[in-house]
């Protein structure tokens, strides 16, 4: 006998989030993995499908919006964060995701990026960092390293790159994280953490562009180098890395130092314990990127910083509610007449 299912809230599956549009990234592009991980975790977020909104700018990365069967705007270069602010402010019920590239987010959209972090709307901001302008066929970007040879820097870039997590922290981001295309599980965890965080969640995704900047991030994912080069942060756990998990980072005052856990008599209990809520430490971790640390320190991945603080759209709504109860709604006729009128007979 057939039974009628009363469960109308059937769980969605990843396919439900595919728009069916032909995906046009180059073969081997890291963007595929990001799309896959997003579609994989979305059914688990427990959000009604129609609530999701993707806002992207312009770039290979920003095509993302077209591939998700959700609401979305593929907008203009650099402005996704500004459009998303309006979406979230106008309708706080929506689950807003911003997709952007390193040029889109940090160059043309730099102003919107910092102000979004500061304002702290409850949205998720994914930056696909491939350290190159891909859609325009290979110019250096604000995250390209000094000396980078590209079509617009044939003799090497003379620019100092941004350190995105440091930039985000400086702009008062309440959630700063990093993951990479070749670590699907890690990325899924980061995406879920970002979604769970109330406030603007910045997720920097190292993304390989096989056409214009191939292999930049391979040291962080290749079997042979990964353990030495990458540090996967976990809250409450000591900072340990190395081929045999034999290296650790400890704090000597405010100075991070790499220690050998085999010699020197250091053990895990001497190490720096990752505390996502500690901004001072987060600032230090974000700077493992800098030249003075670069050679000996691994690149951190994971949640670098998380902090609960008021979110914009809620404060906006609260203020409206407060004024509504205190002063009440003014009738249209009263607004039209103002306070002072006179009659002419």
């Amino acid at each position: 006998m057939e039974t009628l299912s009363l469960d109308t809230n059937e769980k969605l599956n990843p396919k439900d989030f595919s728009s069916g549009m032909e995906v046009k990234w180059c073969p081997g592009c890291g963007d595929y993995s990001i799309l896959k991980q997003v579609q994989t975790i979305f059914p688990d977020l427990g959000i009604e499908k129609e609530k999701f909104v993707f806002i992207s700018g312009i770039g290979c990365s920003s095509r993302f919006t077209y591939y998700m069967d959700t609401y979305g705007i593929h907008s203009i270069h650099g402005r996704a964060a500004a459009i998303a602010s309006g979406v979230k402010a106008a309708n706080p019920d929506l689950d807003v995701w911003i997709v952007s590239g390193d040029g889109d987010a940090f160059s043309i959209g730099g102003n919107h990026f910092i102000h979004l972090m500061r304002k702290n709307f409850d949205v998720n901001y994914l930056v696909f960092n491939n350290q190159i302008y891909s859609l325009t066929k290979g110019q250096y970007s604000p995250t390209s390293e000094r000396g980078k040879i590209t079509k617009s820097s044939p003799y090497g870039s003379i620019e100092e790159p941004f350190n995105p997590s440091e930039l985000a922290l400086g702009a008062k981001a309440s959630f700063v994280s990093r993951t990479l295309d070749r670590e699907p599980k890690h990325m899924q965890t980061m995406l879920k953490r970002a979604h769970a965080h109330k406030g603007t969640s910045f997720v920097e995704v190292y993304q390989n562009c096989p056409v214009f900047n191939d292999g930049t991030f391979f040291p962080f994912s290749d079997k042979e180098t990964k353990k030495e080069e990458a540090l996967f942060l976990e809250n409450g756990k000591p900072l340990i890395f190395g081929n045999n998990e034999d290296k650790g980072i400890r704090l000597d005052g405010l100075k991070p130092v790499v220690v050998d856990l085999n010699s020197n008599g250091f053990s895990a209990s001497d190490l720096w314990i990752h505390d996502e809520n500690d901004k001072t430490k987060a600032n230090l971790i974000s700077r493992f990127f800098d030249a003075e640390f670069n050679d000996t320190f691994p690149r951190p991945f994971g949640v670098i910083y998380a902090e609960e603080r008021p979110v914009y759209e809620e404060d906006m709504q609260h203020q409206i509610e407060e004024i509504k109860t205190k002063k009440g709604k003014i009738s249209l006729n009263k607004i039209l007449s103002g306070d002072k009128t006179w009659n002419i007979l």
Binding site: E50, S75, K329, K340, I344
Partner: protein, 623 residues
């Protein structure tokens, strides 16, 4: 018989006049704007028609006492209908020498000067750059005028001696003395101002009392001082009967938006970045939180318009307000909004440009930018407001068009009408046109397919609120296929879509009123064609010219894109067409291009509105 030790009774004559222009001028810190506004309110409440023109420097506190620091407030009031702030002044209140220097050239022969004596001391004369030893109050230069030298500073001080207030506060209330004196001069009551002061300083009764005391002292001074022998009476104007209020253009624009939101049932969202002279719309709307209005002060004008585009996607009545430089920043996003075909209202309160130009002065120089200032072909409706109160109707219309035709709409206002005020016979809730909003509720294609660019008979696509179940869809800046909205690079499709977007805007013609003659008749020899804030000056000039026997008519445009259907037909009926504009001939270009007629331009780009005399002179020359 005269008893020698008694003062002779003061004799005051009362003169009936039908209109007067008063110019209040002083340092930015002298409070002349407030004095002028209060005076205007009282005149309006007494039934006079009024038009005002606040004219202030761009620096908040330009060097005290200098010509650059002069802040003026001009009010034209009368017992007949008043359409401009007046070409020249009957009365100047000059708080210092610099103020007199700035305003003298426009004082009518035989006009009245009320000079604040201490503002003409050695220091002030030097600051105003009068030659050493020259004091206009003491030489013969003002022979042909009536000059009242009043030691306002000292009289105010005496009045508040023993009040316990500090020197600074006492000095600050001297504008109330001026106001009291002027109210006496024009035979107005103090009640309205006393009420105003009591409300304004309800938490500081000692300040309120002091201001009222000074106000009364000014009034009594007029009544008793020997030098004031004439009072002027201006009868109430015979305006159409009804209930009136005073309104500035910016406030009218703000409440036009609130009204459109209430009537359409759409939540109002304003994304804006402060810029003179548009900022007051942001200020005003920020006060209507109790009505659910959301104002978002964005990090720049680009974010302002982009946030509004986002809000529009969620089904808000989305607006962005700015002035020329900000308008330039918005152009890329305007292209996006045109491409997305989302409703959006963009208000550009124009000022003198290019660049920072004359930020506090008026100009109509963004018309061609509004018409064409986008990349690619992206025609948009463009509307222009013609007076302070017309900002309400124009903005309301713009909202209606944006929502009903799914398009961004540009509204042009300018510094003159934005800050100027006039009495307004305001409408009631039920008088306002309805605004129809049809959100798509369910899939509009076969098999549950969503077709975001499926158009109705007016080529209007459906508005789909993000968050509606089963209507998930993507929109974007890339060229798209009609109906599905899917990205399409097909050559013919781009041409088709370009034409469709243009035709959609063109068809709005069927929904706007025909152009009509404001004054004069359809077969007049000369037509004066205007748009925007030149309305008052053109109207007055044409009216006066007709009265003097000239064969002239006036048409004023609110809809500049699309133009009213009958405009061409009307224009072809006139022998000559004169187009006065506060730019170098922008509507002129549009009209010539559209109708191939040899219209004549008349430009003024001085940061100042046209005077009636300037336009009249042209009319006479062309007649």
């Amino acid at each position: 018989m005269n008893i020698s030790n008694e003062l002779p009774e003061k004799v005051t004559t009362i003169r009936q006049v039908d209109k007067v222009v008063v110019r209040f001028s002083g340092d930015s810190g002298d409070g002349m704007q407030l004095t002028g506004m209060q005076f205007t309110d009282t005149a309006a409440l007494a039934g006079n028609d009024t038009t005002t023109f606040p004219d202030y420097p761009s620096e908040i506190r330009a060097p005290v006492g200098t010509v650059a620091g002069v802040s003026g407030f001009q009010v034209h009031f009368g017992s007949t209908e008043i359409y401009t702030a007046g070409d020249s002044f009957d009365v100047i209140v000059a708080m210092n020498a610099a103020a007199l220097k700035v305003d003298m050239p426009r004082l009518k022969k035989g006009g009245i000067i009320i000079a604040n004596l201490q503002g003409f001391d050695k220091k002030n004369l030097a600051l105003a750059e009068y030659p050493d030893g020259v004091n206009p109050l003491e030489d013969s230069s003002l022979e042909n005028y009536i000059v009242h030298k009043v030691d306002i500073t000292k009289l105010t001080k005496e009045c508040l001696a023993g009040s316990g207030l500090g020197m600074k506060e006492i000095d600050r209330s001297k504008n109330m003395f001026v106001l009291g004196l002027l109210l006496w001069m024009f035979d107005k009551t103090l009640d309205n101002t006393i009420q105003f002061i009591q409300d304004k300083f309800s938490k500081k009764p000692e300040i309120a009392d002091a201001n009222i005391k000074v106000l009364k002292a000014g009034f009594n001074y007029g009544e008793s001082a020997e030098i004031f022998t004439t009072q002027f009476k201006i009868a109430p104007a015979r305006l159409p009967s009804g209930t009136y209020r005073n309104i500035t253009g910016n406030h009218a624009a703000a409440i036009g938006l609130v009204a459109a939101s209430e009537k359409s049932g759409l939540p109002l969202f304003l994304g804006s970045y402060p810029i003179t002279p548009a900022t007051d719309i942001l200020h005003d709307l920020s006060k209507y939180k109790g009505n659910g209005v959301k104002t978002f002060q964005a990090e720049d004008e680009i974010a302002a318009i982009c946030s509004s585009i986002g809000a529009s996607y969620t089904g808000s009545l989305a607006v962005t307000t700015t002035s020329g430089p900000g308008m330039s920043l918005k152009t890329e996003a305007l292209g996006l909004a045109a491409m997305l075909e989302l409703p959006l209202v963009v208000i550009d309160v124009q000022r003198g440009g290019p660049s920072t130009g004359l930020p506090t002065k008026t100009e109509q120089s963004d018309l061609l930018m509004a018409m064409h200032g986008r990349h690619g072909e992206a025609p948009l409706p463009v509307l222009a407001a013609s007076s302070p109160s017309d900002c309400f109707e124009t903005v309301y219309e713009a909202c209606k068009i944006a929502v009903e035709h799914m398009t961004p709409v540009i509204v042009l206002s300018d510094g003159y009408i934005a800050n100027g005020s006039e009495p307004w016979r305001f409408p009631k809730d039920e008088d306002l046109a309805s605004i129809k909003v049809n959100f798509l509720k369910e899939a509009n294609g076969e098999n549950g397919k969503v077709l975001p660019y499926k158009r109705d008979e007016n080529l209007v696509r459906p508005w789909i609120k993000a968050g509606t179940k089963n209507l998930e869809h993507r929109i974007g800046g890339l060229e798209k296929e009609n109906d599905t909205g899917n990205v399409s690079y097909e050559a013919k499709n781009h041409e088709k879509m370009t034409k469709l977007r243009a035709e959609k805007v063109k068809r709005i013609q069927s929904f706007i009123p025909p152009a009509k003659i404001d004054n004069g008749n359809e077969r007049a020899k000369l037509l004066v064609l205007g748009w925007g804030s030149t309305y008052g000056a053109i109207k007055t000039a044409v009216k006066e010219s007709i009265d003097e026997g000239f064969d002239v008519a006036h048409i004023h445009l609110r809809y500049i894109n699309p133009l009213p259907k009958n405009l061409g037909w009307l224009l072809f009926g006139f022998e000559k067409v004169l187009i006065p504009e506060m730019n170098s001939g922008q509507l002129l270009q549009l009209i010539r291009a559209e109708f191939l007629i040899p219209a004549t331009g008349f430009s003024k780009v001085q940061g100042l509105p046209f005077t009636t005399a300037e336009i009249k002179e042209r009319i006479i020359r062309m007649s």
